[in-house]
């Protein structure tokens, strides 16, 4: 009787580190013989490498202001980048496999399916398990519209045979925005089509405005309030995108970054009684247990907070619950995150809109400035920072930054926000000079003080704040 975990992804590493005897199966993705660890193969890692590659064009421009001179305009060779990127990913895959092996985890390659609460079928062979963990992640979703077969998703975009000359990216979320930056930096002609007025719905409004402006300044065209209706391929091979506002021609590629759906088809879930949500995500309780007591689920397949470090947290908590005799719930408060747009975004805690809703009276501190580098490069780069504090308790409720190095900057501050530190704590910390980060500990005057006027029937924000929420 072996504890079998149906494995896909990084949380398996967390489980493995719990030092128990496990067997793992790999889910093959449409016949491709990769282990489809999303983050390493098709997500965070290759994405970041492409972001690094694409940032250089901006750096070349910047360097001119610092005295560097190029005899010829630097040119980019896409195939070199993709080859090197793939080599790195292979190397990481090898490392992950070793990590599993060294932890004593048995890795079984094949297509897994659940047969009953304690049995898994891998390509016809049956395995019995005390516990089953489903962590098959998600995959890109492309709406079923005419011509959708010509569309590339993020998976394909990371492995295109050649660099797009002119690309339409449909979508306004982080994936769309990141790829827009990547292709723009690699000198493609980039057009983004979004349904809303601004990119990154759900993010702090001022951040959405700021990053949108910065994207425009870098030459990305953003077409707002447009919904895709069809893709038409012309005789010369170029693609046209038809939306509710009209048709634009001449694209070499059209990419859809229109959301991701949990990978729950054909796993046998319905027959075994595992409850799913409307979008196909597996329903779990606070301990990641499904409606079937011996079956658990973590990561993107549960559609909670779809980030690798959160999946790691969920996996780690589950390992403790199942095998360390320490029932542990993953904690979702103050989870920081980043968007690797250009410039990138880092955030932790509540947006201004959420803070006002939950706390009523908040003080908002903002800074919008040209970093030292830009005063010499002459480029229109700027940094935007926002700190939101509860007026009553002085607790820092949220931090939002958009500008160079934001993701790296936010991490340390996330420790502070998670620990419930106040604006006074921030202010008592001496700055490191010269940096951009020091701005966050030197914000003296609120940009605006928001006070909710008392209204009938609404929860008293003061009461909430006093309760220490």
């Amino acid at each position: 009787n072996v504890n079998i975990i149906e494995f896909l992804g990084k949380w398996g590493q967390a489980i493995a580190r719990a030092r128990c005897a496990f067997a793992i199966m790999l889910h093959l993705n449409e016949g491709r013989f990769w282990a489809t660890w999303r983050c390493v193969l098709r997500g965070c890692v290759p994405k970041k490498l492409l972001v690094y590659a694409s940032k250089y064009s901006h750096e070349f421009e910047e360097s001119c202001g610092f005295g560097w001179k190029y005899a010829a305009e630097p040119e980019h060779d896409w195939s070199t980048l993709i080859a090197n990127k793939n080599a790195e990913i292979q190397r990481l895959t090898g490392i992950y496999k070793s990590t599993l092996k060294n932890a004593g985890v048995e890795l079984i390659e094949g297509r897994g399916k659940i047969v009953d609460p304690h049995t898994v079928d891998v390509d016809g062979k049956l395995y019995s398990a005390k516990n089953i963990l489903i962590s098959v992640g998600g995959r890109p979703f492309i709406p079923d519209i005419p011509g959708s077969e010509y569309v590339v998703d993020s998976d394909a975009a990371l492995d295109l045979p050649s660099k797009p000359k002119k690309i339409a990216i449909v979508g306004g979320g982080y994936i769309a925005v990141e790829f827009a930056g990547i292709f723009n930096g690699l000198q493609s002609d980039v057009h983004v089509f979004i349904r809303q007025k601004k990119v990154l719905r759900g993010f702090d409004e001022e951040i959405r405005d700021f990053v949108g402006e910065q994207m425009l300044l870098r030459g990305i065209e953003i077409h707002t309030e447009q919904s895709p209706q069809a893709i038409i391929k012309s005789s010369d091979g170029s693609l046209s995108l038809k939306t509710n506002k009209g048709t634009i021609d001449g694209f070499s590629h059209i990419m859809f970054a229109t959301g991701r759906k949990p990978n729950t088809k054909n796993l046998g879930l319905e027959s075994v009684g595992v409850k799913l949500k409307e979008n196909g995500a597996i329903e779990v309780d606070e301990y990641s247990q499904t409606s079937v007591p011996s079956i658990w689920a973590v990561g993107d397949v549960t559609d909670r907070i779809n980030l690798t470090p959160v999946a790691l947290m969920e996996g780690g908590a589950l390992a403790k619950t199942l095998f360390a005799n320490k029932p542990t719930k993953p904690e979702y408060r103050a989870v920081p995150s980043a968007v690797f747009s250009q410039p990138p975004i880092g955030q932790v805690g509540l947006t201004e809109e959420q803070a006002i809703k939950e706390y009523g009276d908040v003080d908002v501190y903002t800074a919008n400035f040209r970093p030292l580098k830009a005063t010499l490069s002459g480029l229109p780069d700027r940094i935007f920072m926002k700190l939101i504090a509860c007026a009553k308790t002085d607790k820092v409720l949220g931090l939002h930054i958009c500008g160079e190095d934001s993701p790296e900057i936010i991490q340390g501050f996330a420790v502070a926000v998670k620990a419930g530190l106040t604006k006074a704590d921030f202010d008592a910390t001496v700055g490191i000079h010269p940096t951009a980060a020091e701005e966050l500990v030197t914000m003296r005057t609120p940009t605006r003080k928001l006070r909710r006027t008392p209204s009938e029937g609404k929860t008293d924000s003061e009461f909430k704040a006093a309760a220490g929420v």
């Binding site: 983050c39 965070c44 890692v45 970041k48 490498l49 690094y52 590659a53 250089y56 750096e59 070349f60 360097s63 202001g65 610092f66 005295g67 560097w68 001179k69 005899a71 630097p74 040119e75 980019h76 060779d77 896409w78 070199t80 090197n84 990127k85 790195e88 690798t308 470090p309 790691l312 103050a334 989870v335 920081p336 995150s337 980043a338 030292l372 580098k373 005063t375 010499l376 993701p407 790296e408 900057i409 936010i410 991490q411 340390g412 501050f413 996330a414 420790v415 502070a416 998670k418 620990a419 530190l421 910390t429 001496v430 700055g431 490191i432 000079h433 010269p434 940096t435 980060a437 020091e438």
Partner: protein, 495 residues
């Protein structure tokens, strides 16, 4: 109130029982500390006057400029040069990412210097405007303390003007010192280094502190051959030993010739450049020799002894916890007091001074958990205790967590340069006593960590914070295994 003019060098007798002063506060020195103290005091309603020497990138005893060392010949121009130098290796790394660049990319030092000068002049103007906007009266000239409530400004046209002030604040900062080595006049200090006409092809640097290390990185990054000579086994004495070793390794990896346990004995001018002799008998040839052997407080010409202000053996003004000297109406902040010589600390001292004297809120600057950075390439940044300090000070065991890795960016560029990140934890209380990092973006990363550390965050609190992925910073919240545990009471081995 009539100002007293000095006629024939004779001071008019002061009026008795003077309760009305020209100024509530007169500040000598308009650098980081002086400007901060002036503005904040003025905001509390004080009538403030400030004097500063005329502006020039290179300082002398009588030349300085509004903005002070930080803006004109310190932090700001230094960072600009570090940016300039960093591009060199960045451009090399771009090739692994598919970029096709010429074999050699030209670097125009003069252009960078020109832009640097434009920027410091612009900032100098901004600082002047900040003072004006705060209602602070700025005088150009050399200030001296004449009495407990009297200063004298020697203006540019030679006339001397004196003012009475309820409080006097000395914020004259410090200047680079030159060791008494034969031929020392051939060497330059950081002032000149930030304003050189030509980029040196060969540079010899004497010193092991942050200034020496930063210039080594800057010139090497721009393609110069660099020899770094320092007295100890490793540079950056006072920093965590493990981190010092990382910095040294990185400098070596980038091609800086390291000469530990070395000092210079003689400089001689030759046709081929400056011949430099070391105490190991080695001879080096250089276009530029930089002395970065420390800075001394600017107190010589202030007439302090005549007023009875106590100085320490280095010439720094002695002050109490509130920045007050032994003369009740005279105060001092910033590098001239030689406490923690960092701009943000001078700002803190200035703020506390203004609060104490004019804000009716006696405030002592807090020197615990002050983060700082050394902008070598890649940079080092630290906050809290080093491992050695923690072992010395902690009651219980000390736990050390380290993470050493080649950053993701390097995996494709092929650069072999490991980032090292470290947390030092009190085994008894689980408090994080110190954090340090040597790697790209270290300073930006440590700032947020410093907030947590200052407030006594525990390792458990660090661990309960979810990481941001992919980043280098996330390593700080995912260090699970102890690298080493040092039992309480173990003797330390300092290098």
């Amino acid at each position: 109130m009539a100002r007293k003019m000095l006629i024939d060098g004779e001071l008019e007798k002061p009026n008795e029982e003077k309760t009305q002063y020209d100024f509530d506060l007169f500040v000598i020195g308009a650098g980081s500390g002086g400007v901060r103290a002036s503005r904040f005091s003025a905001q509390y309603g004080a009538k403030v006057g400030i004097c500063e020497l005329p502006f020039h990138p290179i300082s002398t005893e009588v030349i300085g400029g509004v903005g002070g060392t930080c803006v004109i010949r310190g932090c700001v121009p230094k960072k600009i040069l570090v940016y300039g130098a960093s591009f060199g290796s960045e451009l090399e790394d771009a090739r692994g990412y598919g970029w096709e660049l010429n074999e050699r990319i030209d670097f125009n030092w003069k252009k960078l210097l020109l832009k640097k000068t434009e920027e410091i002049v612009r900032l100098n103007g901004i600082y002047k405007r900040m003072l004006a906007n705060a209602g602070v009266k700025l005088f150009e000239g050399e200030g001296k303390v004449v009495g407990p409530n009297e200063v004298e400004v020697n203006q540019l046209d030679g006339t001397k003007i004196s003012y009475s002030a309820k409080h006097i604040l000395i914020a004259t900062g410090s200047r680079a010192q030159r060791p008494a080595i034969p031929g020392q006049e051939l060497a330059i200090t950081s002032d000149e280094a930030l304003s050189l006409e030509e980029l040196p092809k060969r540079a010899v640097i004497l010193g092991g502190g942050y200034i020496a290390v930063e210039f080594a990185s800057i010139w090497r990054g721009m393609g110069a051959s660099v020899d770094l000579c320092f007295r100890k086994e490793l540079p950056l004495r006072g920093f965590d030993d493990e981190m010092r070793a990382v910095v040294a390794r990185n400098l070596e990896g980038r091609g800086v010739n390291m000469h530990p346990r070395t000092t210079l004995t003689e400089l001689v001018k030759t046709e081929d450049g400056i011949k430099v002799r070391t105490d190991h008998g080695e001879e080096l040839l250089a276009d530029v020799v930089l002395f970065a052997t420390g800075r001394t407080p600017n107190t010589k010409r202030l007439n302090l002894e005549a007023v009875g202000i106590e100085l320490d053996k280095n010439g720094a003004v002695k002050v109490d916890e509130y920045s007050r000297t032994n003369i009740p109406s005279i105060w001092a902040i910033g590098d001239v007091t030689d406490r923690m010589n960092l701009t943000p600390v001078a700002l803190m001292e200035g703020t506390c001074f203004a609060k104490t004297v004019f804000g009716e809120q006696p405030s002592k600057p807090d020197y615990s958990h002050v983060p700082c950075a050394v902008f070598c390439i890649p940079p080092l940044s630290v906050v809290g205790l080093s491992e050695e300090q923690a072992i010395d000070q902690a009651n219980g065991d000390v736990l050390v967590f380290t993470s050493t890795f080649n950053p993701m960016k390097n995996t494709i560029s092929g650069r072999q340069e490991k980032t090292v990140m470290k947390l030092v934890v009190d085994g008894e209380t689980d408090k994080v006593l110190g954090a340090s990092m040597c790697g790209p973006d270290a300073a930006e990363i440590i700032q947020g960590i410093a907030v947590a550390l200052k407030c006594g965050a525990t390792k458990a609190q660090f661990d309960s914070t979810v990481g941001i992925h992919p980043s280098a910073a996330e390593e700080f919240v995912t260090m699970r295994s102890v690298s080493r545990r040092i039992a309480a009471g173990k003797p330390k081995n300092n290098l």
